[in-house]
């Protein structure tokens, strides 16, 4: 039965730390009329791993997560958690904790009673569940706020209570559907770190959903980029950024310049420089070359082909917006036939550049372009 399985997989008696369970989503399909919300979607989570699904709004992230929770039926495909096929297992027996985007706390219960809810429906006695609830509130740094009602808590505090509530019954899997999207920027950063810290400590296998790439890259073991109901690429944050498998991923993760280029025998020529890359195209073809802002160099040059349009100070680096490729050099009006490229350089190196300065922009020698 459920309970025995779960108990075995969950607690590692030696360390007292729980080892998570493996999750396997295999070839899930789900259509809403014409829309394929899940289109042959597969995903594996290793025990204790935090995987983030990242993608634009409407790409099927929520549907995937809800399919795992049992809240959304799938047309076909299997969900296996801890070696057990969950087909036909109702939501309340799936033993998963879930944190919603917002407003999911029970408004008529205090923070403590919210956290204790899962224990109450399992018939735990009052003293025990109170103890456990307070322990979890401590864990999310809300000790002492247990008697507040949800509407007396800030958005960030509410989400922390929601996290504590999801964790209280020691779920096998933790599911978070854009839990930070409704919060303001500062709280968002602090809370995502807290979520990650708690998750690491408990070792609960976690699926996190967001459309915010920075969020995804900063807290995940692995990030899966979704597009139109399928997984486009799944990799560690560093790998995803450095080696995006497709232009879509490249575009979605980090900032990307699109530059016109021409293929050569062994690579591509862009901004007057040749870069080695396999393109799979005959030489001389016009292509779209994708380069990160930090893979470009900018040097002051009154006779250069570029004109600085603006600079954005980002701290250690400064982002220089350069207009290139205008046939008529006319102070970089918008509406010319060129493009604006973004170049990230150490702030000290480009301190002298201001709008109107003539510059040359070229790829760094070790730049790794992506060709579309």
């Amino acid at each position: 039965m459920t309970t025995t399985d779960a108990a075995e997989t969950r607690t590692d008696p030696a360390s007292g730390r729980r080892a998570g369970v493996a999750v396997e989503l295999r070839d899930l399909n789900r259509r809403f009329g014409e829309v394929r919300a899940l289109d042959g979607f597969s995903l594996d989570l290793a025990p204790g791993e935090l995987v983030t699904l990242l993608g634009p709004s409407g790409c099927g992230k929520t549907t995937a997560l809800r399919a795992l929770a049992g809240l959304e039926a799938v047309d076909s495909g299997t969900v296996v958690v801890g070696g057990r096929d969950l087909r036909g297992v109702p939501v309340r027996q799936r033993d998963m904790g879930m944190v919603f985007q917002s407003y999911s706390l029970f408004p008529n219960l205090t923070a403590r009673d919210n956290v204790a809810f899962g224990l109450r429906v399992r018939g735990q006695d009052k003293a025990a569940r109170r103890r456990r609830a307070d322990e979890l509130l401590e864990l999310v740094e809300l000790g002492g706020r247990g008697d507040r009602y949800p509407h007396q808590l800030s958005g960030g505090q509410q989400q922390r209570v929601a996290l504590a509530r999801a964790l209280a019954p020691e779920p096998q899997v933790l599911l978070l559907d854009e839990p930070l999207s409704a919060l303001d920027a500062k709280v968002r950063v602090a809370l995502r770190e807290q979520i990650r810290a708690v998750q690491t400590r408990l070792g609960t296998t976690t699926l996190f959903v967001t459309h915010d790439q920075e969020e995804a890259l900063s807290i995940s073991d692995r990030v899966g980029v979704m597009r139109d109901g399928r997984l486009e690429q799944i990799a560690s944050p560093a790998e995803l950024y450095a080696r995006p498998a497709t232009p879509f991923v490249a575009e979605f993760v980090g900032t990307m310049n699109h530059l016109p280029g021409t293929t050569t025998a062994d690579g591509v020529e862009v901004l007057g420089r040749r870069l080695p890359v396999t393109t799979g195209r005959p030489a001389g073809a016009e292509v779209d070359v994708l380069l990160r802002p930090e893979a470009l160099l900018v040097t002051p040059d009154p006779h250069g082909t570029g004109v600085v349009v603006a600079t954005t100070f980002l701290g250690a680096v400064t982002r220089v917006h350069v207009r290139v490729g205008d046939t008529q050099r006319s102070g970089a009006r918008p509406g010319g036939d060129g493009t604006t490229v973004l170049v990230d350089r150490p702030s000290a190196a480009v301190a002298g550049l201001g709008p109107g300065a003539g510059v040359t922009v070229e790829p760094a020698p070790d730049a790794q372009p992506l060709v579309a």
Binding site: R66, L71, E72, A73
Partner: protein, 277 residues
Amino acid sequence: MAAVISDLGATTTAEPPAPARSRRRGGSAWARRLVLVIAGLYFLVPLYAAFRFAIGTSDGGVSGAVFAGIPAQDGFLDAITLTVRLAVIALVITLVLVVPTAVWVHLRMPRLRRVLEGVTLLPIVVPPVVLIIGVLEVAPPELKGTPDLLALVYVVLALPFAYRALDSGLQAIPLTTLVEASRSLGAGWGRTLVSVVLPNLRSALLAAVVLTVAMVFGEYTMASLDQYQTFPVWIVVFQQANARVSVAVSLLALLGTWALLWLISLVDRRRQSPEDT
């Protein structure tokens, strides 16, 4: 009556329904259907029974003649004319009083909203039968001699509910921004009200109109005690004459309200349809 108002008002404020994330729940789907069937029977059987009775003839046959004959019945047209007149008077006064007040309160005295909400409860506290005693006692004789006094009192019954409908309608629109934009473009208050605020309150206004009209067409207590033959009173006076016709008229009264509400929901739906799809 109260109900209609708050409901129609509420529909204007309700958030757009989230896409239904529905899921089969076996047992409860069954229970749900049972509830709906029982409710359907309770509400439809009397309609059918009344219809059967109305079209019956004394010799056991069936005839639709009663329905066709209604407009020609004694006093029917007078009753309808009087009721329409009262409805129009009550409606005009209600709107003239309520619309500017509601807008004003939203713009200038948001804190008063709670107080006015309290006023909304007064007609429940004071039953119409009590109110009419007092009204007949204090009304000057010139007013007592005309049915228009009824219309003036109907306004009191309609005011709070019409106010509620508009209030929730106003909640749903960015009133301050609209008014400021219009004023900064040089429009006067009157023009701002008519061409900027009102068009944005269409649903709420419709609700207020339906409410007031439906109320006047259903009000019996006051009209009968003030001894004027409005439509609801006529039905009663007439019942002594012919039971079949009375039942037929009763059915028509019900279907008439239905048609009215349906028409109004059509207007509203057309307005919303682009968002729906």
